[in-house]
Amino acid sequence: MVRAEAARMSAGERVLGEQVARHARRRRARRAVVWAGRIGLAAGAVAAWDLASGTLVRPFFVSTPSAVAERLAEWAVSADFWFHARFTLTSTALGFLAGALLGVLLAWPLALRRVAYRVVEPYFLIAYSVPAVALGPVFILWFGIGLAPKIVLAAYFVFFVVFINTVEGIRQVPQGLIDVTRVLGGDRWVTMRSVLLPGALPYVLAAFRVTLPAAMIGAVVGEFIASNRGIGYLTRAAAGRYQTAGVIAGTIVLAAIVLLLSLALRPLSRVLRWRPEVRLRGEEVS
């Protein structure tokens, strides 16, 4: 009996061990495939670009990977470039803050008053479907040519998404939690602080994450319209001097900034430790 027990235990452990090893093998193989695929894809794209440039397409149109790399390297060590980068980051950050703050602050009273929300809703929808880019030149007149129009554009791109998501976040807080709090003796203020605020937080943070790149896009649009600083300006200046390499390098820098910003925001989600899975809503839908 005792021996049989021991034998069975070991059988179970053996199976478990085998399964774990099998899984580890499979996971390693998969990771290898994924990384090989990523590197292959990137290398293939660069190689195809390099080959095509000068044979299929004139370099004037697509530049060459080496020229772009060279330009990026030049920028990396030039104080000038960092000055421009700082400008873009500043307008992005300020615009983001302004838009996010306004969105959250405006959403709060409106989400709690159904009638008021229904009254303003159609106007928000109208404002949201205005192609902001279309306002470009008029913006110069309204907000001048300095930092202001970039901040305004960036904030515009941020505001609506934050507003809508905050309202949604407040609304989806289960009525049950609110009822329980009230029966436990919580007043309006307590309900707001202890239930609505933490309940809506995931949505607000999700909106922040989606709109951070949007803020930069807004700032860059502003720089395209009128500016003598910023990465957007650098890109445009390169285009003005027929330096396609500079245009592509600028585009790459912009994409890189967005990726870095999203990475920087990641720790924010640690606030949401209490969630089973930090998969923020609206991440893909914007």
């Binding site: 004139r58 370099p59 004037f60 149109f61 470009g136 030149p137 110069i140 007149l141 001048g144 040519i145 319209i225 009128a226 500016s227 003598n228 300006y233 445009r236 200046a237 285009a239 003005g240 001097r241 027929y242």
Partner: protein, 318 residues
């Protein structure tokens, strides 16, 4: 190729401008149609886009400067060639806010050096980086010992109306551009014209091929008849521009998107002296243009002035 098989459709990439009056007149008077040509004008944002449109074969003609072509050529692209001259001098007209000019104590009558020297420390509007407003401004500044990066601030604002509005609101102190907008600033009283471009006040920039119609070398070669017809029609229309400015001014209002006929008329009159008569390039003027550009550092290295390289008179019947 047989003329009958030649392309009859011409796409032009350009932004509205008074010095393109001949084009609008030719179109409006049906001169192109008489030659069997269909001409479509695509409005582009900036000169860079015109060059791109030409180089990619999307447009057959665009109005550009020699420096654009030279740069393109330096980038290894010889696909574009100047085919018809437009302006024989730089028509950029410098306008400054009135109170700034008063503060700096300059007028149109001051010596050229003083007028340019007054730009120190100002916010100066340009259309876009790399455009003529940018490069020639850098020349002006350099010619009086100012550093475009440190002594002034150059602000790209896109187009004439934006520059005009920004000047009016005091967001910039000065800018230069081909008329009419600088004239408008003066007429409205908030601007002072310091350099009247069409008059050729800057000697170095007179007898100078500022802008011309460029075309795709390959396209023009394959459609020589069409190219010649295009030049012919433009030359014909230029005559009307010079002789009947009033009629032309009324005619081109729409093309310019303007509603101020008096200013347009004034501009047409002012510009006509700068317009090339028959679109023919003078090898000497081209040579001088390129030399000056090199000296002004608008060009970075010497460009080949020989006919057939950057320019050709092949379609102009000179």
């Amino acid at each position: 190729a047989e003329p009958a098989q030649e392309a009859k459709r011409i796409t032009i990439a350009s932004a509205p401008n008074v010095f393109l009056s001949a084009l609008y007149v030719a179109k409006d008077d049906g001169l192109f149609a008489k030659e069997g040509l269909t001409v479509e004008i695509v409005e582009v944002e900036s000169g860079n886009d015109s060059i791109a449109a030409l180089a990619s074969g999307q447009a057959q003609y665009a109005d550009v400067g020699f420096e654009d072509l030279a740069e393109l050529s330096r980038a290894g692209d010889d696909s574009v060639v100047m085919a018809h001259d437009i302006l024989n001098r730089v028509t950029l007209t410098l306008v400054m806010r009135k109170e700034v000019a008063e503060r700096k104590n300059v007028t149109a009558a001051s010596p050229l050096r003083d007028r340019l020297g007054a730009l120190r420390g100002l916010k100066i509007g340009i259309t876009s980086p790399g455009s003529p407003t940018d490069t020639y401004m850098r020349y002006y500044l350099g010619s009086v010992g100012l550093d475009p990066e440190r002594d002034v601030e150059l602000v790209p604002l896109g187009g004439g109306s934006a520059l005009l509005a920004a000047l009016e609101k005091g967001q910039i102190d000065a800018y230069h551009l081909s008329p009419p907008t600088p004239y408008v600033a003066a007429e409205k009283g908030f601007g002072v014209v310091l350099i009247d471009g069409p008059k050729g006040e800057v000697p170095e920039l007179d007898r100078f091929d500022y802008t011309a119609w460029a075309t795709s070398r390959q396209w023009a070669g394959e459609n020589a008849g069409t190219a010649a017809a295009f030049s012919r029609v433009l030359a014909q229309a230029t005559v009307k521009v010079k002789q009947q400015p009033d009629a032309v001014a009324a005619q081109i209002m729409d093309d310019l998107g303007s509603s101020d006929q008096a200013t347009v008329l004034r501009t047409v009159k002012a510009m006509s002296s700068a317009l090339s008569d028959r679109g023919c390039f003078d090898p000497a003027v081209v040579q001088r243009t390129l030399d000056v550009m090199l000296r002004l550092k608008i060009l970075e290295e010497k460009a080949d002035a020989a006919e057939g390289r950057l320019w050709t008179n092949e379609y102009n019947g000179c």
